[in-house]
Amino acid sequence: MSELLQFVLSGVTVGAIYAAVALGFTLIYNASGVANFAQGEFVVVGGMTAAALITAGVPVYIAGPLAVIAGMIVGIGLYKLAIKPAGKAPLVSLVIITIGSSIFLRGVMQIVFDKQIHRYEGFSGDEALRFLGATILPQSLWIIGGSIFVFALLAWFVGHTKAGRGIRATASNRLAAVLVGINTGRSMNLSFALSAAVGALAGVLATPVTFTTYDAGVLMALKGFSATMLGGVGNPFGALVGGFAIGLIEAMTAGYISSDYKDAAAFIVILAVLFVMPQGLFGRRTTERV
């Protein structure tokens, strides 16, 4: 019993990190239809900036917000300098631009920070919490809480604010959005800034558990993207469920079957789901009018 609980807690910890990354994907996809492969780098920018500041003696409650702002600046930079100049380039080109940007960002981070592995103390210490024979780190609770908070915030923002609705309108039909007076440029800009902030926040929260290096973003983006696909692209609730599902599948496989097949099991489940439901668990069925 206690071992099942330990596997669940492990899965939820890891899943919350995947979910936080997946939520960032969702936002940019919602605005532009682009799967942003530099999303993992936002996470690393957050983690590395926080680590550098904390090492320099800045208290964590200041370093954290500063790291999120740094992530936001990188996100806006990515949009203004790489995506916007590409203008009306087809989606595939934009996706490739994000891949290029991620490689560029990794290079810059090697120079700005360094090539070492970084970590800092958990916000509430590193002493494990015990209950019913299983253990969890207090930082894991921060990560889980953070993911759910970001989800709630995004769901409210996209569904219930004017700026959020503007983002959705921009995504579904840019020309029509312009015609009804939505500033689509601003919507795009906003979505990149928010998405980067979400990514950086994930980095700040997760670094005490996952550690971070300049190139940790690749794996983060891969897992986060998988979570997005599983949950349904563009749906924040799907991103949340997808992230937790992948984390739990990995932990259960490692616990009950074999740790060798952990990653494979997650991908098999994703493939199986996508065969039956190509739009993911909670994705909208898209129909195009011809």
Partner: protein
Amino acid sequence: MSLAKLGACASALALLVATPALAEIKIGASLAVTGPASFLGDPEAKTLEMLVKQLNATGGINGEEVELVLYDDGADPNKARTFATRLIEEDEVVAVIGGSSTGATMAMAPLFTDAEIPFVSLAGAVVIIDPVKEYVFKTPHTDRMACLKIFEDIKKRGMSKIGLISGTGGFGKSMRAQCLDVAGEAGVEIVADETYGPGDADVTPQLTNIANTAGVEAIVNPGFGQGPAVVTRNYAQLGLKMPFYQSHGVASDSFIHLAGDAANGVRLPATPMLIPGKLADDDVQKAAVTSYIADYKATYGEAPSTFGGYAYDAFNMVVNAIKAKGSSEPQAIRDGLEETSGYAGVTGVYTMSATDHLGLDLTAFRMLEIQEGTWVPVE
């Protein structure tokens, strides 16, 4: 005139003006200075550059200056192969140091064998020198030796049943295979065998399974990079108490920093470079270890890593071979390297032979334990 042309003219002029005062010995190197294995290649390259500068400042080898031709292969075997060709055909080097990774080394080895140029690898795997290749040497201990050293210590503590948790990266995979292979020979039994991915953030399920396996007495974690630090933290999180061993792959202060308090009590086999202050005065390696660390700190403002030490030993053995043979012909250097006997470097004491192109035995490893955030030798 374009800038490029101007530059070309300037360098042509410089060539005309500069007449070589001394003959030069060209030593090549191809290291992973950047890329995923840069934590290996970066200190290795810095070490070589520092040693060459030092050597030339003190008159070179037998009055001849040494020139280092250094390429950055980024641990990519394809690039390494290209650079190997360039080192042989264009640079005409007399010896080559490098290959930070096993992949890059194995890609280059056949080329240097064909060109009959001695090649000293800085990579870990045992396949580099087993079977012995005439022109290929290496300086780091093998992962097989690390397994034997760990098992020897476990036996000494009166235990024999081991739970293995290995990273799936190249290093962890290779060492896991070697540990499984030598377990019988060392008289221990692997009763649990788990793995984790290089980027995994939580391995508590794997550790829970090991802890629940009947009879497990000690845990061994072959791995590299951040994985072992995550495993160590999870080990402490679960409150496990059995002896816990890491490999030489994490023998650096950054491991203690990353694993924090959880690292206390962890043992691992490592080189004397981690305990310069705790070496006995009559320790044959003390002189090399203290001078290398002091020089490196003075030059780069940071302490050198174990990996830089591999380059230190490789370079010095090449230099010693040239001095001993009084010749910088590739063939002479090869013979000189093979005749290396009792060279006390920072990694260990090397004695090579026609059948042993590594020249280290288990005594080169010191068993260390982390106590209150510092390395303490286990007697």
